[in-house]
Symmetry: none
Subunit: 205 residues, 4 copies
């Protein structure tokens, strides 16, 4: 490993140290209580050091969001192994929801939080978010083409799919399901997903 490489590696290590600490704090204290100072404390560096690796606070949020999208995108590839389009459609929804509920902080950052959106728009049209949407759209198209999904405008169908899964995810994550007993919640979620999926998609005879 040459000098430049080692340096680069050091930089990467530090950045991920920062991001890791930030993410842990999000979990422990909630978004509003994560400050540069607290992150610095957690990693036992001075606040000024953070600024050597990230330009400002929203840069950190943006980086975390990007990590989230990366992970999200990668995990979604799993659906491609399913060649039966009907099953893939169902799996698609489950994988989406599973990501959201297993990584609620990432999901929040990606699809709910207000903060990082301004940055999103600035940074090259938000490539990373777009990619995930394109992946969704591509698959939706296949569901339609193979006759499992009713034909309509692609964006319309994709948005419908997205809205349903996001609706479920965000109601859960932002704690709006308190009217359901904890031990029923899962069944209701799954049931709802099935209910809609089986309505919009038709298993061929």
């Amino acid at each position: 490993m040459g000098i430049a490489e080692r340096r680069e590696a050091g930089k990467k290590r530090m950045q991920s140290l920062i991001l890791g600490a930030a993410m842990k704090l999000f979990l422990e204290k909630g978004f509003d209580n994560v400050s540069i100072r607290r992150i610095a404390e957690k990693i036992e560096y001075s606040p000024a050091t953070i600024y050597l690796y990230y330009k400002d606070k929203s840069d950190i949020l943006f980086a975390l969001q990007a990590m989230g999208f990366e992970k999200f995108y990668t995990e979604q590839q799993a659906i491609l192994s399913e060649k039966d389009m009907w099953k893939r459609l169902r799996k698609h929804a489950k994988v989406y929801l599973s990501f959201a509920l297993k990584n609620p902080e990432y999901y929040d950052l990606m699809f709910i939080m207000r903060g990082p959106v301004k940055k999103m728009k600035e940074k090259k049209e938000w490539e990373i978010g777009r990619r995930s949407y394109e992946f969704l759209k591509k698959n939706v198209k296949e569901y339609m083409d193979t006759g499992y999904l009713k034909k309509t405008n692609l964006d319309v169908a994709a948005f419908a799919f997205w809205s349903l899964t996001h609706g479920i995810a965000s109601l859960v994550i932002r704690d709006r399901c308190i009217m359901f007993p904890d031990n029923h919640l899962n069944a209701i979620i799954e049931g709802s997903l099935d209910f809609v999926m089986e309505s919009i998609a038709k298993k061929k005879q």
Copy 2:
């Protein structure tokens, strides 16, 4: 009107003065830029006065949330005039979405924001939120009973309806629809709503 009553009336008046100012500020400046101080300034009282009427900041948010639910509940009654259950189901969704998009601050407070949730749980079962959900459920039951909605567990169907509409609303409100050109957005929203509604509900022959 006795002394106690007059006092009570005065208290109510002041409280609604505070809430009104807070809401105006939310609209004008965004949630993050509303402080107790700014509310006090707006109504031309001192910050300390606010604390005579609300225990702390989150109490104000909670009260606003309650106002939002009140408004929401009231507006939803409009669907009852529609006696054709098929049409009512469609109208239900439209009224929901229309409330959300016309009152994004209320909607945010009610269904997205983290802040007031702790209060929600404390305040005995969150009556006000529950009432709205019960209204939804009651109607969903009617849609089913009249055969316009496929039969399934009531909570499941209600949650499905809610997730879809909330998903749309919250993606729009939290600015995640930047991949759609502004002038297409409306059509996509309406299209998606129709797409799903027409799938889960069946117009009788």
Copy 3:
């Protein structure tokens, strides 16, 4: 003294406490080392308290500047007791210089410092500075009218007078006279003033 008056008095007292501390710090530590925090420390209040009395740092500088101009204007009135215009002209210069050298911090703030100038321009065209200049101009006009000063455009003559006195004052205050032995400096200053004054003004025969 009524309640309102007492309050007003308290406010004034606090403001002058702040300004006094700020001024002392300017003397002791130099302009650059005066921070809101240090002022607060000096008066044994919290930094936040300062903001109850002054909107921001430059507001404090502006207030001090205004005090300086007030003092300056007042002291200049002394020249009016001199009815002999020739003597008054001379006295005018001496009074200007004497103010500058006895109150170098005020003078610096008023005529040298960069900081408060932006505020100056905003605040009602900088009434307070203008008033001093008008006073100078009015007198210069009298010197001319009575024949002690060569006739020329009023602004031109006033600016000439001002430039000379300010030149001396600012070279001294900003420590550019280190080539003159300390014990000669005074004589050189006075001499220079006399030298020019006797040249531009003519004692009538």
Copy 4:
């Protein structure tokens, strides 16, 4: 060129690279917004590198001041071509003012700024500033000797001349002429200079 010499040359080159960048930044961003870091960025070296060539920040300011004096001294030599002492005296004033207004950052550094003064005193008698003053004095002596300037103590006359020109320059540079309309300012400056010069100096008959 021996090794030591080459090293010395390299050092000089680097120093002037630093000074050049610093001066450009002063021009572009103003004094307060120039930090060691920003200078380092501009020349694409690390901040630490700057410290190999200058002990600290004020050392840089001092060096720039020296450059300013060098330039100032050189430009002033131009007056020597004027053999008519009356004209030279006038030209002297114009050249002074012209330098100040064309190089306000240098002028500020040399004659107004507080920062580099401590250094001045330390660096044994501040040779470079003295030289400029001696040049002024030598010429003032000639103006007197040739009868164009009233006889008086040399320092007195020199300081008078300096005070007037510096007064004008520093009032302009530090933005204290806002009472004059922009389009009149030049005329007032020139007029004032002429007004005094024609008074203290006498064209022989």
